[in-house]
Protein backbone atom coordinates (compact mmCIF):
# COMPACT_ATOMS: atom_id res chain seq x y z
CA UNK A 1 0.00 0.00 0.00
CA UNK A 2 2.74 2.42 0.91
CA UNK A 3 4.56 1.30 -2.21
CA UNK A 4 1.51 2.32 -4.22
CA UNK A 5 1.25 5.66 -2.45
CA UNK A 6 4.93 6.26 -3.05
CA UNK A 7 4.52 5.59 -6.75
CA UNK A 8 1.47 7.83 -6.88
CA UNK A 9 3.29 10.70 -5.23
CA UNK A 10 6.22 10.27 -7.57
CA UNK A 11 3.93 9.95 -10.54
CA UNK A 12 1.98 13.08 -9.69
CA UNK A 13 5.09 15.16 -9.22
CA UNK A 14 6.51 13.94 -12.51
CA UNK A 15 3.10 14.54 -14.01
CA UNK A 16 3.03 18.13 -12.77
CA UNK A 17 6.20 18.77 -14.70
CA UNK A 18 4.70 17.16 -17.79
CA UNK A 19 1.63 19.32 -17.30
CA UNK A 20 3.68 22.51 -17.26
CA UNK A 21 5.28 21.55 -20.56
CA UNK A 22 2.04 20.25 -22.05
CA UNK A 23 0.41 23.64 -21.50
CA UNK A 24 2.81 25.17 -23.97
CA UNK A 25 2.02 22.58 -26.62
CA UNK A 26 -1.69 22.87 -26.15
CA UNK A 27 -1.82 26.66 -26.26
CA UNK A 28 0.24 26.89 -29.43
CA UNK A 29 -1.70 24.10 -31.13
CA UNK A 30 -4.98 25.63 -30.10
CA UNK A 31 -4.18 28.81 -32.01
CA UNK A 32 -1.86 27.80 -34.83
CA UNK A 33 -2.79 24.14 -35.25
CA UNK A 34 0.95 23.56 -35.17
CA UNK A 35 2.81 20.94 -33.15
CA UNK A 36 5.70 22.96 -31.77
CA UNK A 37 8.26 20.19 -31.89
CA UNK A 38 10.86 22.59 -30.54
CA UNK A 39 9.00 23.04 -27.25
CA UNK A 40 10.86 20.14 -25.67
CA UNK A 41 14.10 21.93 -26.44
CA UNK A 42 12.81 25.11 -24.82
CA UNK A 43 12.23 23.03 -21.69
CA UNK A 44 15.83 21.86 -21.98
CA UNK A 45 17.15 25.38 -22.43
CA UNK A 46 15.16 26.46 -19.37
CA UNK A 47 16.80 23.73 -17.31
CA UNK A 48 20.24 24.71 -18.54
CA UNK A 49 19.63 28.40 -17.94
CA UNK A 50 18.78 27.50 -14.38
CA UNK A 51 21.96 25.48 -14.20
CA UNK A 52 24.16 28.31 -15.43
CA UNK A 53 22.32 31.00 -13.49
CA UNK A 54 22.64 29.08 -10.25
CA UNK A 55 26.34 28.49 -10.90
CA UNK A 56 26.84 32.16 -11.64
CA UNK A 57 25.10 33.06 -8.39
CA UNK A 58 27.49 30.91 -6.46
CA UNK A 59 25.45 27.85 -5.64
CA UNK A 60 28.63 25.80 -5.56
CA UNK A 61 29.87 27.92 -2.72
CA UNK A 62 26.77 27.30 -0.66
CA UNK A 63 26.92 23.57 -1.33
CA UNK A 64 30.55 23.41 -0.26
CA UNK A 65 29.70 25.07 3.03
CA UNK A 66 26.70 22.83 3.57
CA UNK A 67 24.40 25.79 3.53
CA UNK A 68 21.19 25.98 1.57
CA UNK A 69 20.95 28.28 -1.37
CA UNK A 70 18.99 31.35 -0.27
CA UNK A 71 15.35 31.26 -1.31
CA UNK A 72 15.41 34.68 -2.93
CA UNK A 73 18.27 33.54 -5.16
CA UNK A 74 16.39 30.38 -6.05
CA UNK A 75 13.43 32.47 -7.10
CA UNK A 76 15.76 34.68 -9.10
CA UNK A 77 17.10 31.63 -10.91
CA UNK A 78 13.57 30.57 -11.73
CA UNK A 79 12.64 33.98 -13.03
CA UNK A 80 15.77 34.24 -15.14
CA UNK A 81 15.18 30.85 -16.69
CA UNK A 82 11.56 31.63 -17.44
CA UNK A 83 12.51 34.94 -19.00
CA UNK A 84 15.24 33.40 -21.12
CA UNK A 85 12.88 30.69 -22.33
CA UNK A 86 10.20 33.24 -23.12
CA UNK A 87 12.66 35.13 -25.28
CA UNK A 88 13.74 31.93 -27.00
CA UNK A 89 10.14 30.95 -27.65
CA UNK A 90 9.34 34.30 -29.18
CA UNK A 91 12.49 34.17 -31.30
CA UNK A 92 11.58 30.73 -32.62
CA UNK A 93 8.08 31.91 -33.46
CA UNK A 94 9.34 34.99 -35.23
CA UNK A 95 12.21 33.45 -37.14
CA UNK A 96 10.99 29.99 -38.00
CA UNK A 97 7.21 29.75 -37.75
CA UNK A 98 5.89 33.12 -38.78
CA UNK A 99 7.39 33.00 -42.31
CA UNK A 100 5.58 29.73 -43.00
CA UNK A 101 2.35 30.45 -41.18
CA UNK A 102 0.25 30.54 -44.32
CA UNK A 103 1.93 27.58 -45.98
CA UNK A 104 0.22 24.19 -46.32
CA UNK A 105 0.22 22.24 -43.05
CA UNK A 106 3.18 20.06 -43.92
CA UNK A 107 5.64 22.93 -44.22
CA UNK A 108 5.44 24.25 -40.64
CA UNK A 109 5.61 20.65 -39.41
CA UNK A 110 8.93 20.13 -41.14
CA UNK A 111 10.15 23.52 -39.97
CA UNK A 112 9.27 22.61 -36.40
CA UNK A 113 11.18 19.34 -36.68
CA UNK A 114 14.09 21.35 -38.05
CA UNK A 115 14.06 23.81 -35.16
CA UNK A 116 13.90 20.97 -32.66
CA UNK A 117 16.82 19.20 -34.30
CA UNK A 118 18.77 22.44 -34.42
CA UNK A 119 18.34 23.23 -30.75
CA UNK A 120 19.19 19.70 -29.67
CA UNK A 121 22.46 19.68 -31.52
CA UNK A 122 23.30 23.28 -30.77
CA UNK A 123 22.75 22.32 -27.16
CA UNK A 124 25.14 19.40 -27.52
CA UNK A 125 27.74 21.72 -28.95
CA UNK A 126 27.24 24.55 -26.46
CA UNK A 127 26.46 22.71 -23.26
CA UNK A 128 28.57 19.58 -23.68
CA UNK A 129 26.86 16.32 -24.58
CA UNK A 130 27.60 14.80 -21.19
CA UNK A 131 24.99 14.73 -18.48
CA UNK A 132 25.51 17.37 -15.82
CA UNK A 133 24.60 17.21 -12.19
CA UNK A 134 21.96 19.72 -11.33
CA UNK A 135 22.97 22.25 -8.65
CA UNK A 136 21.20 22.12 -5.32
CA UNK A 137 19.09 25.20 -5.81
CA UNK A 138 16.98 23.55 -3.22
CA UNK A 139 18.65 21.34 -0.67
CA UNK A 140 16.82 18.10 -0.29
CA UNK A 141 15.01 17.46 2.94
CA UNK A 142 13.27 14.15 3.33
CA UNK A 143 10.49 13.35 5.67
CA UNK A 144 8.19 10.46 6.17
CA UNK A 145 4.46 10.63 5.97
CA UNK A 146 2.45 7.45 6.58
CA UNK A 147 5.46 5.37 5.57
CA UNK A 148 5.89 7.25 2.33
CA UNK A 149 9.04 9.26 1.68
CA UNK A 150 8.27 12.77 0.57
CA UNK A 151 10.94 15.32 -0.17
CA UNK A 152 10.63 19.07 -0.06
CA UNK A 153 11.54 18.99 -3.72
CA UNK A 154 8.43 17.02 -4.56
CA UNK A 155 6.38 19.46 -2.52
CA UNK A 156 8.00 22.38 -4.25
CA UNK A 157 7.14 20.86 -7.60
CA UNK A 158 3.49 20.59 -6.61
CA UNK A 159 3.37 24.09 -5.19
CA UNK A 160 5.21 25.80 -8.02
CA UNK A 161 3.29 23.93 -10.69
CA UNK A 162 -0.01 24.66 -9.00
CA UNK A 163 0.76 28.35 -8.62
CA UNK A 164 1.82 28.66 -12.23
CA UNK A 165 -1.23 26.82 -13.48
CA UNK A 166 -3.53 28.97 -11.38
CA UNK A 167 -1.74 32.00 -12.67
CA UNK A 168 -2.27 30.85 -16.21
CA UNK A 169 -5.92 30.15 -15.56
CA UNK A 170 -6.47 33.65 -14.19
CA UNK A 171 -4.52 35.11 -17.08
CA UNK A 172 -6.55 33.31 -19.70
CA UNK A 173 -9.86 34.10 -18.05
CA UNK A 174 -9.37 37.63 -16.80
CA UNK A 175 -6.88 39.46 -18.93
CA UNK A 176 -7.42 40.91 -22.36
CA UNK A 177 -4.55 38.94 -23.91
CA UNK A 178 -5.86 35.78 -22.35
CA UNK A 179 -9.29 36.31 -23.83
CA UNK A 180 -7.71 37.14 -27.16
CA UNK A 181 -5.82 33.85 -26.98
CA UNK A 182 -9.06 32.00 -26.52
CA UNK A 183 -10.65 33.92 -29.39
CA UNK A 184 -7.79 33.02 -31.71
CA UNK A 185 -8.06 29.38 -30.81
CA UNK A 186 -11.68 29.37 -31.96
CA UNK A 187 -11.28 31.24 -35.19
CA UNK A 188 -8.09 33.02 -36.03
CA UNK A 189 -9.45 34.75 -39.11
CA UNK A 190 -12.45 36.14 -37.30
CA UNK A 191 -10.15 37.39 -34.56
CA UNK A 192 -8.08 39.21 -37.13
CA UNK A 193 -11.19 40.80 -38.56
CA UNK A 194 -12.15 41.96 -35.07
CA UNK A 195 -8.98 44.02 -35.07
CA UNK A 196 -7.01 41.83 -32.71
CA UNK A 197 -3.27 42.03 -33.27
CA UNK A 198 -2.84 38.32 -33.86
CA UNK A 199 0.93 38.53 -34.12
CA UNK A 200 1.17 40.00 -30.65
CA UNK A 201 -1.16 37.42 -29.16
CA UNK A 202 0.70 34.57 -30.80
CA UNK A 203 3.98 35.96 -29.55
CA UNK A 204 2.58 36.13 -26.03
CA UNK A 205 1.33 32.58 -26.30
CA UNK A 206 4.78 31.34 -27.19
CA UNK A 207 6.34 33.43 -24.43
CA UNK A 208 4.03 32.11 -21.73
CA UNK A 209 4.21 28.50 -22.86
CA UNK A 210 7.99 28.68 -22.98
CA UNK A 211 8.23 30.25 -19.55
CA UNK A 212 6.13 27.45 -18.09
CA UNK A 213 8.28 24.86 -19.80
CA UNK A 214 11.40 26.48 -18.32
CA UNK A 215 9.92 26.26 -14.85
CA UNK A 216 9.27 22.60 -15.62
CA UNK A 217 12.88 22.30 -16.68
CA UNK A 218 14.24 23.56 -13.39
CA UNK A 219 11.87 21.40 -11.37
CA UNK A 220 12.86 18.43 -13.51
CA UNK A 221 16.52 19.12 -12.85
CA UNK A 222 15.90 19.30 -9.12
CA UNK A 223 13.90 16.10 -9.19
CA UNK A 224 15.99 13.99 -11.55
CA UNK A 225 19.37 15.41 -10.52
CA UNK A 226 20.98 15.10 -13.96
CA UNK A 227 20.32 17.01 -17.17
CA UNK A 228 21.63 16.53 -20.68
CA UNK A 229 21.01 18.37 -23.98
CA UNK A 230 18.72 15.64 -25.27
CA UNK A 231 16.46 15.68 -22.22
CA UNK A 232 13.88 17.60 -24.15
CA UNK A 233 13.36 14.96 -26.78
CA UNK A 234 11.74 12.23 -24.76
CA UNK A 235 10.20 14.47 -22.10
CA UNK A 236 8.87 16.83 -24.74
CA UNK A 237 7.28 13.96 -26.58
CA UNK A 238 5.69 12.66 -23.38
CA UNK A 239 4.34 16.10 -22.60
CA UNK A 240 2.93 16.30 -26.09
CA UNK A 241 1.19 12.98 -25.58
CA UNK A 242 -0.17 14.40 -22.34
CA UNK A 243 -1.59 17.37 -24.22
CA UNK A 244 -3.20 15.06 -26.78
CA UNK A 245 -4.55 12.80 -24.05
CA UNK A 246 -6.19 15.70 -22.29
CA UNK A 247 -7.48 17.16 -25.50
CA UNK A 248 -5.15 19.28 -27.53
CA UNK A 249 -6.17 22.92 -27.34
CA UNK A 250 -7.65 22.48 -23.88
CA UNK A 251 -5.75 23.98 -20.95
CA UNK A 252 -7.37 21.90 -18.21
CA UNK A 253 -6.87 18.97 -20.55
CA UNK A 254 -3.12 19.54 -20.61
CA UNK A 255 -3.02 19.50 -16.82
CA UNK A 256 -5.05 16.32 -16.49
CA UNK A 257 -3.14 14.69 -19.34
CA UNK A 258 0.17 15.55 -17.73
CA UNK A 259 -0.79 14.08 -14.38
CA UNK A 260 -2.15 10.93 -16.00
CA UNK A 261 0.96 10.35 -18.09
CA UNK A 262 3.16 10.91 -15.05
CA UNK A 263 1.14 8.38 -13.09
CA UNK A 264 1.09 5.86 -15.93
CA UNK A 265 4.83 6.14 -16.35
CA UNK A 266 5.61 5.79 -12.67
CA UNK A 267 3.24 2.88 -12.14
CA UNK A 268 4.58 1.07 -15.19
CA UNK A 269 8.14 1.53 -13.99
CA UNK A 270 7.24 0.39 -10.52
CA UNK A 271 4.97 -2.55 -11.25
CA UNK A 272 5.81 -3.73 -14.78
CA UNK A 273 9.41 -2.97 -15.60
CA UNK A 274 11.55 0.16 -15.76
CA UNK A 275 12.44 -0.79 -19.36
CA UNK A 276 8.97 0.03 -20.50
CA UNK A 277 8.44 3.34 -18.73
CA UNK A 278 9.01 5.22 -21.98
CA UNK A 279 7.10 2.77 -24.11
CA UNK A 280 3.89 3.18 -22.10
CA UNK A 281 3.61 6.78 -23.23
CA UNK A 282 3.78 5.74 -26.87
CA UNK A 283 1.21 3.05 -26.29
CA UNK A 284 -1.10 5.63 -24.71
CA UNK A 285 -0.48 7.93 -27.66
CA UNK A 286 -1.45 5.29 -30.15
CA UNK A 287 -4.50 4.21 -28.17
CA UNK A 288 -5.80 7.72 -27.72
CA UNK A 289 -5.31 8.67 -31.36
CA UNK A 290 -7.05 5.54 -32.51
CA UNK A 291 -9.90 5.52 -30.03
CA UNK A 292 -10.58 9.14 -29.14
CA UNK A 293 -8.33 11.49 -31.12
CA UNK A 294 -9.94 14.61 -29.68
CA UNK A 295 -8.70 13.56 -26.24
CA UNK A 296 -10.50 13.43 -22.92
CA UNK A 297 -11.64 17.04 -22.83
CA UNK A 298 -11.34 17.90 -26.48
CA UNK A 299 -14.08 18.71 -28.92
CA UNK A 300 -14.57 16.86 -32.20
CA UNK A 301 -13.92 19.20 -35.07
CA UNK A 302 -15.86 18.62 -38.25
CA UNK A 303 -14.19 19.67 -41.45
CA UNK A 304 -16.32 21.91 -43.64
CA UNK A 305 -16.65 20.47 -47.11
Amino acid sequence: MTQLLQQIINGLSLGSIYALIALGYTMVYGILKLINFAHGEVFMVGAYTGFYAASALGVAGFEANNQSFPLYLAVLVLVLAMAAAALLGMAIEFLAYRPVRSAPRLTPLITAIGVSLFLQNAGMLLFSPNPQRYPAILSEVRFELFGVIVTNIKLTIFVVALCLMLGLHLFVQKTWTGRAMRALSFNIDAAKLMGIDTNRVIRSTFAIGSALAAAGGILFGLDQITINPLMGVLTGLKAFVAAVLGGIGSIPGAVIGGLLIGLAEQLTAGYLSPEYRDAITFVILILILLLKPEGLLGVVRVEKV
Binding site: K33, L34, I35, A96, P99, V100, A103, R105, L106, T107, P108, L109, I110, T111, I113, G114, V115, S116, L117, F118, Q120, N121, A122, M124, L125, P129, V233, L237, F240, V244, E275, Y276, D278, A279, F282, V283, L285, I286, L289, L290, P293, E303, V305
Partner: protein
Protein backbone atom coordinates in the same frame (compact mmCIF):
# COMPACT_ATOMS: atom_id res chain seq x y z
CA UNK B 1 8.27 -10.78 -78.16
CA UNK B 2 7.78 -7.97 -75.68
CA UNK B 3 8.77 -10.20 -72.79
CA UNK B 4 11.89 -11.29 -74.65
CA UNK B 5 12.97 -7.71 -75.27
CA UNK B 6 12.49 -6.97 -71.60
CA UNK B 7 14.57 -9.95 -70.50
CA UNK B 8 17.35 -8.88 -72.86
CA UNK B 9 17.33 -5.34 -71.54
CA UNK B 10 17.30 -6.54 -67.95
CA UNK B 11 20.26 -8.84 -68.54
CA UNK B 12 22.16 -6.05 -70.24
CA UNK B 13 21.53 -3.70 -67.35
CA UNK B 14 22.66 -6.27 -64.83
CA UNK B 15 25.80 -6.90 -66.85
CA UNK B 16 26.53 -3.19 -66.89
CA UNK B 17 26.14 -2.99 -63.14
CA UNK B 18 28.36 -6.05 -62.74
CA UNK B 19 30.96 -4.43 -64.94
CA UNK B 20 30.75 -1.18 -63.00
CA UNK B 21 31.36 -3.13 -59.85
CA UNK B 22 34.82 -4.11 -61.04
CA UNK B 23 35.55 -0.54 -61.93
CA UNK B 24 34.40 0.73 -58.57
CA UNK B 25 36.23 -1.88 -56.56
CA UNK B 26 39.43 -1.31 -58.46
CA UNK B 27 39.30 2.42 -58.78
CA UNK B 28 38.08 3.63 -55.40
CA UNK B 29 39.26 3.28 -51.87
CA UNK B 30 37.28 1.29 -49.30
CA UNK B 31 36.18 4.56 -47.80
CA UNK B 32 34.71 5.88 -51.04
CA UNK B 33 33.19 2.50 -51.85
CA UNK B 34 31.37 2.54 -48.57
CA UNK B 35 29.93 5.96 -49.38
CA UNK B 36 28.76 4.67 -52.76
CA UNK B 37 27.03 1.71 -51.16
CA UNK B 38 25.40 3.90 -48.54
CA UNK B 39 24.26 6.26 -51.27
CA UNK B 40 22.59 3.37 -53.03
CA UNK B 41 20.89 2.21 -49.84
CA UNK B 42 19.75 5.76 -49.19
CA UNK B 43 18.28 6.01 -52.65
CA UNK B 44 16.15 2.95 -51.91
CA UNK B 45 15.06 4.49 -48.61
CA UNK B 46 14.33 7.86 -50.15
CA UNK B 47 12.42 6.64 -53.18
CA UNK B 48 10.34 4.40 -50.95
CA UNK B 49 9.59 7.12 -48.43
CA UNK B 50 8.81 9.56 -51.20
CA UNK B 51 5.98 7.32 -52.37
CA UNK B 52 4.03 7.81 -49.16
CA UNK B 53 5.27 11.21 -47.96
CA UNK B 54 5.68 12.87 -51.32
CA UNK B 55 3.32 11.34 -53.84
CA UNK B 56 0.54 10.49 -51.41
CA UNK B 57 1.18 13.39 -49.04
CA UNK B 58 0.91 11.29 -45.86
CA UNK B 59 3.74 12.38 -43.67
CA UNK B 60 5.41 9.53 -41.84
CA UNK B 61 8.41 10.29 -39.63
CA UNK B 62 9.07 6.86 -38.13
CA UNK B 63 10.29 4.91 -41.13
CA UNK B 64 13.53 3.93 -39.41
CA UNK B 65 11.39 1.36 -37.64
CA UNK B 66 10.63 -0.42 -40.92
CA UNK B 67 14.25 -0.34 -41.91
CA UNK B 68 15.00 -2.01 -38.58
CA UNK B 69 12.39 -4.70 -39.15
CA UNK B 70 13.84 -5.42 -42.59
CA UNK B 71 17.38 -5.47 -41.24
CA UNK B 72 16.65 -7.87 -38.40
CA UNK B 73 14.42 -10.10 -40.51
CA UNK B 74 16.93 -10.33 -43.34
CA UNK B 75 19.79 -10.98 -40.94
CA UNK B 76 17.92 -13.62 -38.99
CA UNK B 77 16.45 -15.44 -41.98
CA UNK B 78 19.79 -15.27 -43.77
CA UNK B 79 21.42 -17.03 -40.86
CA UNK B 80 18.69 -19.69 -40.77
CA UNK B 81 18.93 -20.31 -44.50
CA UNK B 82 22.71 -20.52 -44.64
CA UNK B 83 22.84 -24.04 -43.28
CA UNK B 84 20.26 -25.71 -45.56
CA UNK B 85 21.30 -23.86 -48.71
CA UNK B 86 24.99 -24.46 -48.23
CA UNK B 87 24.15 -28.04 -47.41
CA UNK B 88 22.41 -28.54 -50.76
CA UNK B 89 24.47 -26.34 -53.05
CA UNK B 90 27.76 -26.19 -51.25
CA UNK B 91 29.50 -22.93 -50.48
CA UNK B 92 30.14 -20.30 -53.15
CA UNK B 93 28.65 -17.26 -54.84
CA UNK B 94 25.51 -18.93 -56.19
CA UNK B 95 24.48 -20.19 -52.77
CA UNK B 96 25.31 -16.82 -51.23
CA UNK B 97 23.31 -15.01 -53.88
CA UNK B 98 20.29 -17.19 -53.24
CA UNK B 99 20.53 -16.84 -49.46
CA UNK B 100 21.04 -13.11 -49.63
CA UNK B 101 18.20 -12.35 -51.97
CA UNK B 102 15.79 -14.63 -50.15
CA UNK B 103 16.81 -12.90 -46.93
CA UNK B 104 16.22 -9.50 -48.49
CA UNK B 105 12.81 -10.56 -49.72
CA UNK B 106 12.02 -11.83 -46.25
CA UNK B 107 13.09 -8.46 -44.90
CA UNK B 108 10.83 -6.72 -47.38
CA UNK B 109 7.94 -8.99 -46.48
CA UNK B 110 8.24 -8.47 -42.73
CA UNK B 111 8.75 -4.76 -43.16
CA UNK B 112 5.76 -4.58 -45.48
CA UNK B 113 3.59 -6.41 -42.98
CA UNK B 114 4.67 -4.05 -40.20
CA UNK B 115 3.81 -1.24 -42.59
CA UNK B 116 0.31 -2.66 -42.89
CA UNK B 117 -0.02 -3.03 -39.12
CA UNK B 118 1.13 0.53 -38.48
CA UNK B 119 -0.61 2.02 -41.48
CA UNK B 120 -4.09 0.62 -41.08
CA UNK B 121 -4.95 2.40 -37.85
CA UNK B 122 -2.73 5.42 -38.40
CA UNK B 123 -3.72 6.53 -41.86
CA UNK B 124 -7.13 7.61 -40.68
CA UNK B 125 -5.45 10.47 -38.86
CA UNK B 126 -4.80 13.94 -40.10
CA UNK B 127 -1.37 15.27 -41.12
CA UNK B 128 0.40 16.24 -37.94
CA UNK B 129 -1.24 13.54 -35.84
CA UNK B 130 -0.19 10.93 -38.38
CA UNK B 131 3.37 12.19 -38.12
CA UNK B 132 3.40 11.84 -34.34
CA UNK B 133 1.81 8.39 -34.40
CA UNK B 134 4.35 7.12 -36.89
CA UNK B 135 7.06 8.57 -34.69
CA UNK B 136 5.57 6.68 -31.79
CA UNK B 137 5.42 3.42 -33.69
CA UNK B 138 8.99 3.88 -34.89
CA UNK B 139 10.14 4.26 -31.32
CA UNK B 140 8.08 1.30 -30.12
CA UNK B 141 9.64 -0.91 -32.78
CA UNK B 142 13.09 0.17 -31.71
CA UNK B 143 12.30 -0.39 -28.02
CA UNK B 144 10.99 -3.85 -28.85
CA UNK B 145 14.18 -4.77 -30.68
CA UNK B 146 16.17 -3.26 -27.83
CA UNK B 147 14.53 -5.70 -25.46
CA UNK B 148 14.36 -8.77 -27.71
CA UNK B 149 16.81 -11.18 -26.13
CA UNK B 150 16.78 -13.68 -28.97
CA UNK B 151 17.93 -10.90 -31.27
CA UNK B 152 20.68 -9.71 -29.00
CA UNK B 153 18.82 -6.84 -27.29
CA UNK B 154 20.80 -3.63 -27.12
CA UNK B 155 24.09 -5.23 -28.09
CA UNK B 156 22.68 -6.29 -31.40
CA UNK B 157 22.29 -9.36 -33.55
CA UNK B 158 25.41 -10.87 -35.01
CA UNK B 159 24.23 -14.18 -36.38
CA UNK B 160 25.74 -17.40 -35.17
CA UNK B 161 29.31 -17.05 -36.40
CA UNK B 162 32.06 -15.36 -34.37
CA UNK B 163 32.86 -12.94 -37.17
CA UNK B 164 29.32 -11.68 -37.31
CA UNK B 165 26.92 -11.49 -40.22
CA UNK B 166 28.24 -12.45 -43.66
CA UNK B 167 28.98 -9.36 -45.69
CA UNK B 168 26.89 -10.15 -48.73
CA UNK B 169 26.31 -6.53 -49.60
CA UNK B 170 28.37 -5.26 -52.48
CA UNK B 171 28.08 -2.78 -55.31
CA UNK B 172 26.30 -5.19 -57.62
CA UNK B 173 23.53 -6.18 -55.24
CA UNK B 174 22.97 -2.68 -53.97
CA UNK B 175 22.62 -1.20 -57.41
CA UNK B 176 20.72 -4.12 -58.85
CA UNK B 177 18.15 -3.55 -56.13
CA UNK B 178 18.30 0.21 -56.62
CA UNK B 179 17.44 -0.31 -60.27
CA UNK B 180 14.59 -2.69 -59.51
CA UNK B 181 13.03 -0.56 -56.81
CA UNK B 182 13.38 2.74 -58.62
CA UNK B 183 11.87 1.19 -61.73
CA UNK B 184 8.94 -0.41 -59.93
CA UNK B 185 8.14 2.69 -57.89
CA UNK B 186 8.55 4.91 -60.92
CA UNK B 187 6.11 2.79 -62.87
CA UNK B 188 3.69 2.83 -59.99
CA UNK B 189 3.91 6.59 -59.58
CA UNK B 190 3.12 7.20 -63.23
CA UNK B 191 0.16 4.87 -63.39
CA UNK B 192 -3.51 5.09 -62.52
CA UNK B 193 -2.58 4.13 -58.97
CA UNK B 194 -0.03 6.91 -58.86
CA UNK B 195 -2.61 9.35 -60.16
CA UNK B 196 -5.00 8.22 -57.46
CA UNK B 197 -2.33 8.68 -54.80
CA UNK B 198 -1.56 12.16 -56.08
CA UNK B 199 -5.27 12.94 -56.10
CA UNK B 200 -5.45 11.83 -52.47
CA UNK B 201 -2.61 14.20 -51.70
CA UNK B 202 -4.21 17.07 -53.57
CA UNK B 203 -7.68 16.71 -52.16
CA UNK B 204 -8.69 13.54 -50.41
CA UNK B 205 -12.35 14.46 -50.20
CA UNK B 206 -12.58 15.13 -53.91
CA UNK B 207 -10.64 11.94 -54.63
CA UNK B 208 -13.14 9.93 -52.61
CA UNK B 209 -16.00 11.64 -54.37
CA UNK B 210 -14.45 10.28 -57.54
CA UNK B 211 -14.62 6.70 -56.21
CA UNK B 212 -10.98 6.52 -55.12
CA UNK B 213 -10.65 3.95 -52.31
CA UNK B 214 -8.42 6.29 -50.38
CA UNK B 215 -7.81 4.35 -47.19
CA UNK B 216 -6.96 1.18 -49.05
CA UNK B 217 -4.56 3.00 -51.36
CA UNK B 218 -2.90 4.93 -48.56
CA UNK B 219 -2.27 1.78 -46.58
CA UNK B 220 -0.97 -0.01 -49.67
CA UNK B 221 1.43 2.82 -50.49
CA UNK B 222 2.53 2.83 -46.88
CA UNK B 223 3.20 -0.91 -46.95
CA UNK B 224 5.15 -0.63 -50.21
CA UNK B 225 7.30 2.14 -48.80
CA UNK B 226 7.86 0.10 -45.65
CA UNK B 227 8.88 -2.93 -47.72
CA UNK B 228 11.29 -0.74 -49.61
CA UNK B 229 12.81 0.43 -46.33
CA UNK B 230 13.03 -3.23 -45.40
CA UNK B 231 15.18 -4.02 -48.43
CA UNK B 232 17.41 -1.09 -47.55
CA UNK B 233 17.61 -2.42 -44.01
CA UNK B 234 18.60 -5.87 -45.21
CA UNK B 235 21.30 -4.43 -47.45
CA UNK B 236 22.53 -2.26 -44.59
CA UNK B 237 22.64 -5.16 -42.15
CA UNK B 238 24.90 -7.18 -44.38
CA UNK B 239 27.35 -4.34 -44.73
CA UNK B 240 28.08 -4.38 -41.04
CA UNK B 241 28.89 -7.34 -38.93
CA UNK B 242 25.64 -6.98 -37.04
CA UNK B 243 22.33 -5.22 -36.60
CA UNK B 244 22.06 -2.82 -33.68
CA UNK B 245 18.92 -1.04 -32.44
CA UNK B 246 20.86 2.19 -32.15
CA UNK B 247 21.33 2.28 -35.93
CA UNK B 248 17.60 2.90 -36.24
CA UNK B 249 16.98 5.77 -33.87
CA UNK B 250 14.83 8.76 -34.68
CA UNK B 251 17.93 10.36 -36.27
CA UNK B 252 17.68 7.80 -39.04
CA UNK B 253 14.09 8.81 -39.74
CA UNK B 254 15.26 12.41 -39.81
CA UNK B 255 17.98 11.51 -42.31
CA UNK B 256 15.27 10.00 -44.51
CA UNK B 257 13.16 13.12 -44.27
CA UNK B 258 16.09 15.33 -45.18
CA UNK B 259 16.66 13.15 -48.26
CA UNK B 260 13.22 13.72 -49.65
CA UNK B 261 12.84 17.34 -48.60
CA UNK B 262 16.14 18.45 -50.13
CA UNK B 263 15.41 16.74 -53.41
CA UNK B 264 11.81 17.83 -53.54
CA UNK B 265 8.87 16.16 -51.88
CA UNK B 266 7.09 14.18 -54.56
CA UNK B 267 9.91 13.79 -57.03
CA UNK B 268 11.64 10.46 -57.59
CA UNK B 269 14.69 12.08 -59.15
CA UNK B 270 14.70 14.44 -56.21
CA UNK B 271 14.67 11.53 -53.80
CA UNK B 272 17.63 10.00 -55.60
CA UNK B 273 19.58 13.23 -55.38
CA UNK B 274 18.61 13.65 -51.76
CA UNK B 275 19.69 10.12 -50.90
CA UNK B 276 23.08 10.71 -52.43
CA UNK B 277 23.39 14.03 -50.64
CA UNK B 278 22.77 12.52 -47.22
CA UNK B 279 25.19 9.66 -47.79
CA UNK B 280 27.93 11.99 -48.92
CA UNK B 281 27.39 14.52 -46.16
CA UNK B 282 27.22 11.75 -43.58
CA UNK B 283 30.65 10.48 -44.51
CA UNK B 284 32.22 13.86 -45.10
CA UNK B 285 31.06 14.99 -41.69
CA UNK B 286 31.57 11.69 -39.90
CA UNK B 287 33.73 13.25 -37.23
CA UNK B 288 31.49 16.23 -36.94
CA UNK B 289 28.21 14.46 -36.22
CA UNK B 290 26.76 17.32 -34.22
CA UNK B 291 27.61 19.79 -36.95
CA UNK B 292 26.09 17.53 -39.56
CA UNK B 293 22.82 17.44 -37.67
CA UNK B 294 22.90 21.18 -37.12
CA UNK B 295 23.42 21.55 -40.85
CA UNK B 296 20.49 19.27 -41.61
CA UNK B 297 18.33 21.18 -39.17
CA UNK B 298 19.17 24.52 -40.71
CA UNK B 299 18.67 23.03 -44.14
CA UNK B 300 15.17 21.89 -43.25
CA UNK B 301 14.25 25.26 -41.79
CA UNK B 302 15.75 27.34 -44.56
CA UNK B 303 14.33 25.17 -47.32
CA UNK B 304 10.85 25.40 -45.82
CA UNK B 305 11.05 29.15 -45.61
CA UNK B 306 12.83 29.92 -48.84
CA UNK B 307 12.07 27.07 -51.23
CA UNK B 308 9.68 24.52 -49.74
CA UNK B 309 9.56 22.50 -52.89
CA UNK B 310 13.22 21.60 -52.51
CA UNK B 311 15.37 21.15 -55.58
CA UNK B 312 12.87 19.69 -57.99
CA UNK B 313 9.49 20.14 -56.38
CA UNK B 314 7.19 17.42 -57.64
CA UNK B 315 8.81 17.35 -61.04
CA UNK B 316 11.23 14.84 -62.41
CA UNK B 317 14.53 15.58 -64.10
CA UNK B 318 13.28 14.27 -67.42
CA UNK B 319 10.26 16.58 -67.24
CA UNK B 320 12.51 19.57 -66.76
CA UNK B 321 14.48 18.62 -69.84
CA UNK B 322 11.28 18.28 -71.83
CA UNK B 323 10.13 21.68 -70.67
CA UNK B 324 13.35 23.25 -71.86
CA UNK B 325 12.64 21.93 -75.34
CA UNK B 326 9.05 23.17 -75.16
CA UNK B 327 10.08 26.75 -74.48
CA UNK B 328 10.29 27.60 -78.13
CA UNK B 329 8.12 30.27 -79.80
CA UNK B 330 4.59 29.07 -80.56
CA UNK B 331 4.01 27.46 -83.96
CA UNK B 332 2.47 29.71 -86.64
CA UNK B 333 -0.74 27.68 -86.67
CA UNK B 334 -1.77 29.06 -83.28
CA UNK B 335 -3.96 32.10 -83.68
CA UNK B 336 -3.54 35.11 -81.46
Amino acid sequence: MRALIRVVIATAVLLVIYGLQFGVEAGFTQYVQRIILLAGINVILAVGLNLINGTTGQFSIGHAGFMAVGAYAAAFIGVQLAGPVHGTLGPGPLADAIIFNLALLAGALFAGISGLIVGMPSLRLRGDYLAVVTLGFGEIIRILFNNATFLGSATGYFGDSPSGLPEYTNFFWVFAWVTVIVLLIHNLTFSQTGRSLTAIREDEIAAEAMATPSTRLKVTAFAISAASAGIAGGLFAHMQSGVRPEDFRFEKSIDMIVMIIVGGLGSISGAILGGIFVAVSLELMRDLQQYRLVLYALLLIVIMIVRPQGLLGTRELHHLLRRKKAEKPPAPSEST
